[in-house]
């Protein structure tokens, strides 16, 4: 039973990171029906910028408690600027193009961002270790401060995003644009600006997710956004793409499925497959959802599109 709860904690931690990234996919899809496959790489950029800035600041003698939040803010600024630029340069000219064009552009962008990152940071693995050795042992279930930090910050950010979308005038404009961009313009909404803001918001969340990934795993690499992006996309589809709440539940659920799968696959298959097969579960879920319930858990009419 301890394994179960341990994997549940691990899964929720991982899942909350997926959820933050999935929100970026789902927001952009909700507002312009585009799958921004470069979004996973935004997480990588956020991660590596945070990592580098923390090292630089630590080298200058800034205490970690200050260096880490400062680095995160720096990474968020970089990602927000990059997200804005990508929308402006790569997607806006394709607003009236067939839907395949922006999709291919997204895949191309993803490659460009990865290769530029490889030039800047090299192709090796960069380490990032936070000096937190303390763990809490709750009846055999080990919880680390990093896990609680990841979970707490994710929940706070998700709550903040829901508040923004549901209660502020920007959120109202985002929902109006998602539901009917033409009428939104007739009502005086500069929909191009709203779309820009959507990219900027999603990119800021991706930067935070980037910090969480390097803090949790302790390493970063220019390709780290690829698999993470695919899984977050899976989470968004699982929850119902376009739905904010769906992205959150989809992310958490996917994380838990993956962790439990990794925890038990060895026992179930008699040691034939090990936990290194954990990535398989996400894609089994994706295939299952697409075949049996393509609108996702909260997709279609129930979901709140952005």
């Amino acid at each position: 039973m301890a394994t179960f709860f341990q994997q549940l904690v691990n899964g929720l931690t991982l899942g909350s990171i997926y959820a933050l990234v999935a929100l970026g996919y789902t927001m952009v899809y909700g507002i312009m029906e585009l799958i921004n496959f470069a979004h996973g790489d935004m997480v990588m950029v956020g991660a590596l910028v945070t990592l580098s800035l923390t090292h630089v600041l630590a080298g200058l003698g800034v205490p970690l408690a200050l260096a880490l939040p400062l680095s995160l803010l720096g990474a968020m600024a970089v990602c927000m600027a990059l997200g804005w630029l990508i929308e402006r340069v790569a997607y806006r000219p394709l607003r009236r193009a067939p839907r395949l064009a922006p999709l291919i552009t997204a895949i191309g962008l993803s490659m460009v961002i990865e290769q530029v990152a490889a030039l800047l940071w090299g192709r090796g693995y960069l380490t990032f270790s936070l000096p937190v050795s303390r763990v809490w042992n709750l009846g055999g279930v080990v919880v680390t401060p990093i896990q609680t930090g990841v979970l707490g910050l994710s929940l706070l950010l998700m709550w903040g995003l829901l508040w923004l979308v549901r209660k502020t005038s920007l959120g109202r404009a985002m929902r109006a644009t998602a539901q009917n961009p033409e009428v939104a313009r007739l009502m005086g909404v500069d929909t191009d600006q709203v779309i820009s803001m959507t990219f900027v918001l999603g990119s800021a969340l991706a930067a935070v997710a980037g910090l969480m990934v390097v803090a949790y795993y302790g390493i970063g690499n220019y390709t780290m956004g690829f698999m993470l992006g695919l899984k977050a996309f899976t989470a968004a589809v699982l929850g119902g793409i376009g739905s904010l709440a769906g992205a959150m539940w989809g992310g958490l659920l996917l994380g838990v499925v993956e962790a439990l799968g990794a925890g038990y696959i060895g026992d179930v298959t008699g040691g034939l497959f090990g936990s290194n097969y954990k990535d398989v579960f996400a894609f089994l879920v994706l295939i299952g959802v697409l075949i049996f319930h393509p609108q996702g858990l909260l997709g279609g009419r129930a979901g709140e599109k952005v």
Partner: protein
């Protein structure tokens, strides 16, 4: 009277076909102008060109003396020009209240927004009762009233109405036109596109009749009502 909207030689192409051909149309401040004609005559396209949803292939659009091409679609409502689109275009998953607030988007920091909303709730009791429900749950007629209320929230100078009676039950059409009459009575200038020619002509001061993209007749609304050709084509023959 000052000219508020001046359309000169407007042509609009739609997939290679000229939907509007060389239309001249003038709306004076405070006037109610009807644009009538059969389905596909180019009425809606004319209105959409004014709102900016369609780009004219030629011609000049002046609003309050300013060329409209200088204003993006979303900037026009701020200048006082508001279109209630065909099919109403309410935001189905926004609440009724949020829909109304969207109408006041360009003046969202204005303290008058809330009092305007109360005023509109005064006009439409039904909307107030259900203000927190999604607009998609309203009936077609109620959605049309909401679309009108939303347009009023923008404090328009020139209100463009595209087929407000379309798809509504007769009783609801009457209600919608009562509201339109009240709006016009409050001094808002009106350009009304309507297939129900009798309703439009009875409400308006002047009218333009369009046929296959061209203006074929223009004059005072009551004269149009008596015009033999209009009666024949749009008012169902020998009524007088």
């Amino acid at each position: 009277m000052t000219i508020l909207l001046d359309i000169a030689g407007l042509s609009v192409c739609y997939g290679g076909i000229k939907a509007v051909a060389e239309v001249d149309l003038v709306v004076h401040e405070g006037e109610r102008v009807a644009l009538i004609g059969a389905n596909g005559a180019g009425k809606s396209s004319t209105l959409k060109a004014v709102a900016g949803l369609m780009v004219p292939s030629s011609g000049q659009l002046l609003y309050d003396g300013t060329p409209l091409e200088r204003l993006a679609v979303w900037q026009r409502v701020g200048a006082g020009l508001c279109l209630v689109p065909e099919g109403r275009g309410v935001f189905p998953r926004l609440s009724i209240e949020e829909n109304l607030l969207m109408g006041a988007w360009h003046r969202r920091r204005d303290a008058g927004v809330l009092s305007d909303m109360e005023r509109i709730y005064g006009l439409f009791e039904r909307l107030k009762e259900r203000r927190l429900q999604p607009a998609g749950t309203l009936s077609g007629g109620e959605q049309q009233l909401l679309a009108l209320g939303r347009a009023l929230m923008s404090r328009p100078r020139l209100l463009l109405l595209d087929e407000p009676s379309m798809g509504l039950a007769p009783l609801m059409v009457e209600k919608v036109f009562d509201v339109i009459r009240a709006i016009a009575g409050s001094g808002v200038t009106l350009l009304l596109v309507e297939q129900n020619a009798r309703l439009a002509l009875e409400l308006c001061d002047r009218a333009y009749v369009m046929e296959s993209g061209k203006v074929v007749l223009t004059g005072k609304a009551d004269e149009c009502l008596r015009d033999a050709r209009v009666q024949e084509a749009y008012l169902g023959g020998d009524q007088s």
